[in-house]
């Protein structure tokens, strides 16, 4: 086996290495597939489903699905865009996203995907759930109102920092990010330099005293939509 495979995304032929996921192969080829829970350097676990593509006519998570020779992938279709829009809409109404005062605004992946999809308002009713925050730590705080349960912090803390500071507890609407301590974040061994503090796609894990440092207009997603970096690499 040569290790090379070819398949198509929206009719365009892609070359990939054996063992690559659809998402990895697409990004290498300069094709953006929206994603939220997946992050380079962490093992993908397919929890958010924003990256769903059609593979030979069936929905699959592009971040976990290995590319295989000859597969036919659809990515940029109205149906998939609509489905992604619904997922993003749900994430907005299921949390409490007050972007107007959020530290992460302009650099937030959830917000940026919403912008890219042209969302002006979610179509589902807001739930306004009661979620708590934890500002006990001197350098870091958790605002669960903005958590999208992507699991990046869990994985980064466990696999990269070797600490297991975060874990999910509860199920369904009661699922939330918990810390490995009797009570509060301050009682864990988390440190400001930990990888786990730098992976949150939204404003749920925030470093204190560095907020709003970059002015509006110069933030990550002010000028170019999320995914532009991938698309600009187009070979």
């Amino acid at each position: 086996m040569s290790g090379k495979i070819t398949f198509t995304i929206d009719g365009k032929e892609i070359e990939a290495r054996q063992g690559q996921t659809i998402l990895e192969a697409a990004e290498d080829a300069g094709i953006y597939i929206p994603k939220l829970c997946q992050m380079k350097g962490l093992v993908p676990h397919g929890s958010c489903r924003v990256c769903t593509v059609m593979v030979n006519g069936r929905p699959q998570a592009a971040c976990t699905q290995p590319a295989t020779d000859g597969m036919v992938v659809e990515n940029d279709t109205p149906e998939l865009k609509g489905m992604r829009r619904d997922i993003i809409d749900m994430l907005f109404v299921e949390g409490n996203h007050f972007c107007m005062f959020c530290d992460k605004s302009g650099n937030c992946e959830l917000q940026a995907i919403a912008y890219r999809l042209g969302i002006c308002a979610p179509k589902f009713p807001y739930l306004f759930p009661n979620r708590d925050l934890d500002a006990s730590h001197p350098d870091i705080f958790i605002d669960r109102n903005r958590c999208v349960l992507c699991g990046r912090c869990v994985e980064a803390s466990r696999d990269i920092d070797g600490k297991c500071v975060f874990e999910f507890v509860g199920r369904g609407p009661h699922k939330k990010i918990a810390v490995n301590a009797e009570a509060k974040l301050v009682d864990t061994d988390i440190d400001i330099t930990d990888k786990a503090v730098n992976v949150c796609p939204v404003g749920a894990i925030i470093k204190k005293r560095v907020g709003y440092a970059v002015p509006i207009g110069e933030r990550l997603y002010d000028k170019e939509p999320i995914g532009s970096d991938v698309e600009n690499n187009k070979k």
Binding site: H97, M100, Y115, G118, C120, A121, Y126, F128, I216, P225
Partner: protein
């Protein structure tokens, strides 16, 4: 005032008037705007009641009391196209921060327990002149049908201008990437 200019009405419900300020921020385009439209019921000209049918209604703020609901329904009845302007109209905005707190606790904090409260009689205002406060703050599209949403806190002057021009020309409104902002 010509008879056949389309009319625009605006209202600020549970908002801070920042979106109206943003409308004034269109600068000299305001001169062009008053050539294009007549303002009807609006704080801009202080007309209190509708004088007729309006082409476009702009709503700033969500619904936090029964008066807001009444005004919003009145706008829906009088306007061909109703637009939610800004995050408070779209998701309740800052006023909706009270949505997770029982109403009695909010009232007690505001009128009895807050650190800056001076209220020797210990009465929470309760007069029939004061609109009844709702259990929580509702986005406008959860109360009436809304045709378009202009997000932002506030939406930029350019966003408001682009939207008004498109709507007055009878074109569908699609905001370009740079004009969709939630902050």
């Amino acid at each position: 005032m010509s008879k056949d200019k389309p009319k625009v009405a605006t209202a600020s419900l549970a908002g801070c008037f920042g979106c109206h300020m943003s409308l004034l921020d269109i600068d000299d385009r305001i001169l062009k705007l008053i050539e294009l439209v007549d303002f009807d019921k609006s704080p801009v000209d202080d007309i209190k009641e509708f004088t007729g049918r309006c082409a476009v209604g702009l709503i700033e703020g969500g619904c936090c009391n029964e008066e807001n609901v009444r005004v919003l329904k009145d706008f829906r009845r009088h306007c061909d196209v109703l637009v939610s302007v800004g995050d408070c109209a779209i998701n309740g905005g800052i006023p909706a921060l009270r949505n997770g707190i029982p109403l009695k606790e909010c009232m007690d904090e505001a009128y009895l327990n807050g650190p800056t409260v001076h209220n020797p009689s210990g009465q929470v205002p309760n007069d029939r002149e004061i609109p009844l406060v709702l259990d929580k703050v509702y986005p406008c599209h959860e109360v009436v049908k809304i045709d378009y949403h202009l997000p932002g806190c506030p939406p930029s002057a350019d966003t408001l201008w682009a939207a008004l021009v498109a709507l007055l020309e009878g074109k569908p409104l699609e905001l370009p990437y740079e004009l969709i902002k939630y902050d």
